[in-house]
């Protein structure tokens, strides 16, 4: 094989780096979901475990948050899509001056920081509620309601952008033709414009739902005393992380992948070239049908769930724990031998802080000395994450 010149390798190198940058974090996260280490990490590898999925399934707070998020997502789609569509239709029908002004107004919520939208939504509905002397149980103070309204303000604008790009390609004479042929304006809308907009409605729905699901800035204010998936996750990050978060990521990635694969299969299956290929190969035709692909992927997912439920790593984790205890024991003995004059009592708990517990940190001299700021002190005073 001929050696490639260095400049010819640059695009390949760039691509490699690009994909590493794009997918590296995801891959790492997926791996951490199966490591028994109690902090999400890849090395040192302890045991292959599926316990984090079990822990996730038992996490009522996260599941409740997820339920809220899905509910809010559906609510946001139901409200934002019609509003976005109406805005796009309006923009496509008004004169150029009014269009510029309206466009700025419609797009403004995207430019306003989410925090501001969240706060102002909260205050606005609180004022309205106060005006009507509504009790605290009323919807004016309900987190789900407020979050839907807060998110709709900018997600409707996103979906409007999606609709606008499609509606600009709409031939308005089609509506006129429908009217001319006796259709009422409603019939013209339903039978001509809506079918044309259908692909945009589909993508706007997905976009709106995902934007709602992942939103934090606005939601954290408007959700009030309730919680969503993102707020639960963020509080987890604040109060101690464990690999069940990676398990969530694995599930989300799996769902996305399955969806994307089925979608792509459907697209390829419907191309003319493929129809030609499978014309006289009935087996291949059935095998590549998106339905078949969906069933296979579904079965795979089901198998994964069964595997996760039945996999038992307790023997390995017990072994690891035992090793750690032994190591700890050894380190403690070394420490007491090396520093007999130390007045501070040696830690009695196994010093296995989340970061670098295996080194123990004992053999290296601490740059902080034995002051109150010494990291060793943290290990003893902080409540153990395990």
């Amino acid at each position: 094989m001929k050696m490639k010149s260095p400049t010819a390798m640059i695009p390949g190198l760039y691509l490699t780096l690009f994909f590493a940058y794009l997918f590296g974090p995801l891959i790492i996260m997926v791996i951490t979901a199966f490591n028994s280490s109690s902090f999400p990490r890849v090395s040192p590898w302890e045991c292959f475990t599926t316990d984090w999925f079990g822990k996730l399934a038992a996490d009522d707070k996260l599941l409740a948050g997820l339920g809220n998020s899905l509910l809010i997502g559906v609510g946001v789609v139901c409200v934002a899509i019609p509003i976005g569509l109406a805005a796009a239709i309006t923009l496509s029908q008004v004169g150029p001056k009014l269009r510029a002004a309206l466009y700025t107004i419609f797009i403004a919520p995207i430019l306003v920081p989410g925090v501001v939208i969240g706060l102002s939504t909260l205050i606005f509905w609180d004022r309205i509620g106060t005006l009507f002397n509504a009790p605290y149980e009323s919807f004016f103070y309900d987190g789900t309601f407020l979050t839907i309204f807060g998110q709709v303000t900018f997600i409707a604008a996103y979906s409007m952008l999606v609709f606008l790009s499609r509606i600009q390609r709409f031939d308005t004479t089609l509506t006129e033709a429908a009217l001319d042929m006796g259709a009422t304006p409603t019939q013209a809308f339903i039978k001509v414009l809506l079918p044309f907009m259908a692909p945009a409605i589909g993508s706007a729905t997905v976009l709106a739902f995902l934007a709602s699901l992942e939103n934090y800035n606005t939601t954290v204010f408007t959700i009030v005393s309730s919680s969503t998936f993102t707020t639960v996750l963020s509080s987890k990050v604040r109060y101690g992380l464990d690999p069940s978060i990676s398990a969530v990521a694995v599930i989300i990635i799996a769902i996305t992948l399955i969806g994307a694969i089925i979608y792509e299969c459907r697209n390829r299956y419907n191309t003319k070239g493929w129809a030609h290929v499978v014309a006289d190969r009935p087996v291949l035709k059935v095998a590549t049908h998106p339905g078949t692909v969906a069933v296979i992927l579904g079965l795979l997912a089901l198998a994964a769930v069964v595997f996760i439920q039945n996999h038992d790593s307790s023997a390995c984790t017990a072994q690891i724990l035992e090793d750690k205890r032994a190591l700890q024991q050894k380190l403690m003995e070394e420490q007491s031998l090396n520093t007999p004059q130390q007045t501070v009592p040696a830690p009695t708990m196994p010093n296995l802080g989340p970061l670098g517990g295996d080194e123990g940190g004992a053999s290296a001299p601490s740059p902080f000395g034995n002051s109150i700021f010494s990291p060793e002190n943290l290990g003893t005073s902080a409540p153990d994450g395990q």
Binding site: D171, T173, L174, E176, A177, A178, L179, D180, M181, G182, A183, T184, Q187, K191, V192, P195, F196
Partner: protein, 365 residues
């Protein structure tokens, strides 16, 4: 069933701009009527007034004697064929044709039956399940017509439907449109900027310019006896000479066009504006009316010099220069019309072929 249409003093104004200027005309039931004019002359606006997409600022549009003000396009007995045809791209051919029935709540079976009938009429039987994108330009054209005919309208309005087709197909569709019109017997109102289309298909033509109807008449009247300078210069090729009327006895006129002896032309028989001695005028002579003088003493003779020739096979289009004025000349290529390029050539035209009109706006070439 056909209905007559009358426009009574129809004005359409968009702010300061007057798109239609006091249009007044009657179109009989079953007539093939064309509006001919350059783009921006208001012909499409007038069509939109008839179809209901535009309300006249003043005046009345009557269909079958009924005032149509306030009646929406979906309630009028008209069907419009759009310039771009406006076929629904997401529907099959049959669904396109059956659309007017669908919105009227006709059941699926009847719809399909009617669509098949119409497909037969336009010679596309058995192709109802095809997509619009699978048809050729001419086929789309016919589908648009079939769709317009699906609910048996009284009046079919056509807005330059042939402009997107290539020349051959356009000529073919002209004949076909005319045949369909004869077959179904509807009133056709046809909008075009192509005089060939207007002249070949129409029973009558209204020539429009800048929102005004300049002349209404059949093709022959419009071509042979234009009543305004605009019509004379817009419909067909024409040479225009500026001159002064020397005398007018109601039968013949003497006109000095600065080319030697005064020309003699017939006074306008179609009742155009009368010209009095001393008036300025435009004298129009068609390229095919100019000929090379065969004898020395013929009437309306003048000298000219050869400039250039365009050879078109059956015709020779020659440009001659007479006293600084370029004149176009179309001669049949039958070998009898040799022109000496280096010597002055005498040209003439028959008195009935010269048309003297009040000076007015000329159509830009």
């Amino acid at each position: 069933m056909t209905k007559e249409i009358s426009l009574e003093h129809v004005w359409v104004e968009f702010g300061e701009f007057t798109a239609v200027h006091k249009a007044n005309l009657n179109i009989a039931g079953g007539e093939f009527f064309s509006f001919l004019g350059p783009s921006g002359c208001g012909k499409t606006t007038l069509l939109r007034c008839i179809s209901g997409f535009q309300e006249p600022t003043r005046g009345k549009v009557k269909i079958g004697g009924e005032d149509m003000r306030g009646v929406g396009p979906n309630k009028r007995p008209t069907a419009l064929i759009f310039q771009n045809l406006a076929l629904f791209p997401l529907r099959s051919i049959a669904d396109n044709i059956a659309f007017p029935l669908e919105v009227r709540g006709v059941d699926k079976k009847t719809r399909r039956k009617r669509a098949d009938e119409l497909l037969e009429l336009i010679a596309l039987s058995g192709q109802g399940d095809k997509k619009v994108s699978e048809l050729s330009g001419g086929q789309k054209q016919r589908v648009a017509i079939a769709r317009a005919l699906a609910v048996e309208p009284d009046i079919l309005l056509l807005d330059e439907p042939l402009s997107a087709l290539d020349l051959k197909l356009r000529q073919h569709m002209r004949t076909e449109l005319r045949a369909i019109q004869k077959q179904v017997g509807l009133t056709f109102i046809y909008i075009t900027h192509d005089q060939g289309e207007a002249l070949t298909m129409s029973d009558r033509i209204a020539v429009m310019n800048k929102g005004k109807i300049e002349q209404i008449g059949d093709g022959k009247a419009i071509y042979d006896h234009p009543t305004t300078s605009f019509v004379a210069s817009f419909v067909g090729e024409n040479n225009v000479l500026e001159g002064t009327v020397l005398s007018n006895d109601g039968q013949k006129m003497q006109i000095d066009a600065g080319l030697g002896t005064p020309f003699t032309v017939e006074s306008h028989p179609a009742g155009g504006p009368a010209l009095a001695p001393g008036d300025d005028c435009h004298l129009f002579v068609r390229p095919e009316a100019l000929r090379i003088s065969k004898d020395e003493s013929s009437i309306n003779q003048f000298e000219s010099n050869f400039v250039t020739e365009e050879f078109e096979g059956n015709m020779r289009h020659i440009v001659m220069n007479a006293n600084g004025k370029d004149l176009k000349l179309s001669l049949i290529n039958d070998g009898t019309n040799a022109i000496d390029a280096n010597a002055p050539v005498k040209l003439d035209f028959a008195p009935e072929m010269g048309i003297a009109l009040k000076p007015g706006e000329l159509a830009s070439a």
